[in-house]
């Protein structure tokens, strides 16, 4: 698999505080990678480091295969756009002027693409209004437009829906999905609003205390989190044939346990097991979502 970003045992130490603690992650090309972690998990520190705002204290990272301290990193960064924490915009300039400024910075030969970008982020009617007077959602969208100015392949967004109203959240979500689908732009989106991330992410990285605890694709997560009943029995070789006889979709988890998907006929299941001399010890319903998966992973409350 090709990766936009790989980190290898990344650490960041601020005096007495270790913000990143041997973090290893992989962002595949074309993915919307949801970086999940509670406040203080180290998400913003990680994003600052990969955006070149800070240097790691240890470990390394690679952008498009280029090591962060190598000569090719500046070229690789030209393929990256980002909004770190708050959108970086000149408050005394209009949306058009901010983009013009960014176009000059990026060495664009003309300002022809500005109107198209403004239209894309739905700021084409902002006119000469100064960015300082924009709503938070408008600022966020302008920040994304600035990140898009260099035609990047990879965009890093740090908490993009923080502080937005429901309409703003929907707009940002739709914009990310649109850019990912239509322009095949890879996104790394950090958030602690799991419900929002679960609507867009194709891959997840679960972060806790400066480490990535688990990386998982959305399809793998869906399989893990699928609603099922967990059946625990006395160990028996006839366990699987008994489930087969009922035409159930199931997954054997151990000698004595299976997860049964779909709407199973519990009475039929009990009778089928009994007829094969298998004792049913326990039956529980399992209905895990992204949040409970994460909480199970970190072994505690979310924003405690």
């Amino acid at each position: 698999m090709e990766y936009c970003l790989e980190t290898d045992y990344l650490t960041k130490q601020y005096r007495n505080f270790r913000a990143l603690n041997g973090l290893t992650m992989h962002v595949p090309r074309g993915a919307i990678y949801g970086l999940i972690g509670k406040n203080g998990a180290g998400k913003t520190t990680l994003i600052r480091i990969i955006s070149g705002l800070q240097r790691p204290s240890g470990g390394s990272y690679f952008l498009y295969g280029e090591p962060y301290d190598g000569r090719g990193i500046y070229k690789a960064r030209e393929r990256v756009g980002g909004v770190v924490e708050t959108p970086s915009i000149y408050a005394n300039m209009s949306a058009y002027e901010n983009l013009k400024q960014q176009f000059i910075l990026l060495g664009k030969p003309s300002f022809g693409g500005i109107d198209e970008l403004l239209k894309l982020v739905r700021l084409d009617d902002a006119g000469k209004k100064k960015a300082g007077h924009f709503s938070l959602g408008m600022k966020q969208r302008l920040g994304i437009a600035l990140a898009l100015a260099g035609d990047p392949d990879f965009i890093v967004l740090d908490e993009p829906v923080n502080g937005l109203d429901p309409q703003g959240i929907i707009e940002i979500r739709e914009l990310i999905l649109k850019l990912n689908r239509e322009k095949n732009i890879t996104f790394l989106v950090s958030s602690h609003i799991l419900g929002e991330l679960s609507r867009i992410a194709t891959h997840y990285g679960f972060m806790h205390k400066g480490e990535i605890l688990k990386e998982i694709s959305a399809s793998e997560l869906a399989a893990v989190c699928r609603k099922c009943i967990s059946v625990t029995v006395t160990p028996s070789p006839a366990f699987a044939p008994a489930l087969d006889s009922l035409n159930l979709e199931y997954r054997i988890v151990g000698d004595d346990r299976a997860e049964v998907y779909g709407d199973a006929d519990i009475t039929g299941l009990v009778l089928a097991l009994k007829s094969r001399g298998i004792n049913l010890l326990r039956i529980t319903e399992k209905d895990e979502d992204l949040e409970s998966y994460y909480i199970n992973l970190i072994g505690g409350g979310f924003n405690d």
Partner: protein
């Protein structure tokens, strides 16, 4: 770096403070010119030469530059737009140098604003120069170097402090401290060798007596003070009109000070954690 510089120039073009500074410079020159003109009309002997040093540099130019550097560079930190430059892949050295060149350009524009009044207004009103062209060129070159040194120091402070208010306080305070030190050095250097006092002799008559000045420093200390005065921009500013200042000495010290402040600023900025 050209792209960074162009982007800074675009901001400069939109900066109200920048135009305000240019107007200030021109207005000060115009006010001085009119004041000198009325003095001349009242019979005082005045010439354009004295005002010419204002073309080169003045304390007001230095203070305005301090304010402008802090606000212009600080805005990049305040708005977070410095992140755009770093994310776009610009090395920190280029970002720093582009800001330095922008400040040098600003200083140049401020000098041009004064000249824009001096040549068409001051010269015709006060008459031509009395000094040689060589001396006037020296004044202009030295003045430009002093402004460049101030710009370089203020850029370093603004890039290191990462905060508009802090850099504003530090740059203006550093100007005040440098000016105070220069004034102190000038007053020490100008201490008379002797002074006279009136004493009463044995006949009860008052006589004057010349005695050595106890406050005057030794020649070696004064020599050191003179070197300091010629090195620092505030000192050079103080002695700009005196014929003691060597343009070469000024150039060497300017290059050294610009080099030191740039290396210091760049070293700190390269290691800074940007938020």
């Amino acid at each position: 770096m050209i792209r960074l510089f162009r982007s800074n120039l675009m901001r400069l073009k939109k900066s109200k403070l920048f135009y305000f500074m240019l107007i200030c410079q021109a207005a000060i020159m115009l006010t001085l010119t009119l004041r000198y003109y009325f003095l001349k009309k009242s019979g005082f002997s005045v010439c354009a030469d004295t005002l010419f040093s204002s073309v080169a540099v003045s304390e007001i130019t230095a203070v305005l530059l301090a304010v402008f550097c802090s606000l212009f560079i600080g805005a990049d930190y305040n708005y977070g737009t410095i992140r755009n430059k770093l994310i776009a892949g610009f090395p920190r050295s280029k970002i720093y140098l582009a800001n330095l060149f922008t400040m040098l350009f600003t200083a140049l524009c401020m000098n041009v604003a004064v000249m824009a009044v001096f040549f068409p207004v001051t010269l015709p009103l006060l008459g031509g120069f009395t000094e040689s062209a060589r001396y006037l060129v020296k004044i202009f070159v030295t003045g430009s170097l002093i402004t460049a040194v101030y710009s370089s120091i203020y850029t370093a402070v603004a890039m290191m402090s990462k905060n508009t208010v802090v850099s504003l306080i530090v740059t203006v305070a550093s100007f005040a401290v440098m000016s105070f030190v220069a004034m102190y050095l000038v007053s020490e250097i100008n201490q008379p060798l002797t002074y006279t006092q009136m004493i009463e002799n044995e006949f009860g008559e008052m006589i004057t007596q010349t005695i050595p000045n106890p406050h005057r420093k030794s020649e070696s200390v004064l020599g050191f003070y003179k070197i300091l005065l010629n090195i620092f921009p505030s000192g050079q500013l103080n002695v700009l009109n005196s014929k003691l200042l060597s343009v070469w000495q000024s150039a060497v010290s300017a290059v050294c000070l610009i080099g030191i402040s740039t290396v210091a600023g760049l070293t700190v900025f390269s290691e800074e954690n940007i938020k």
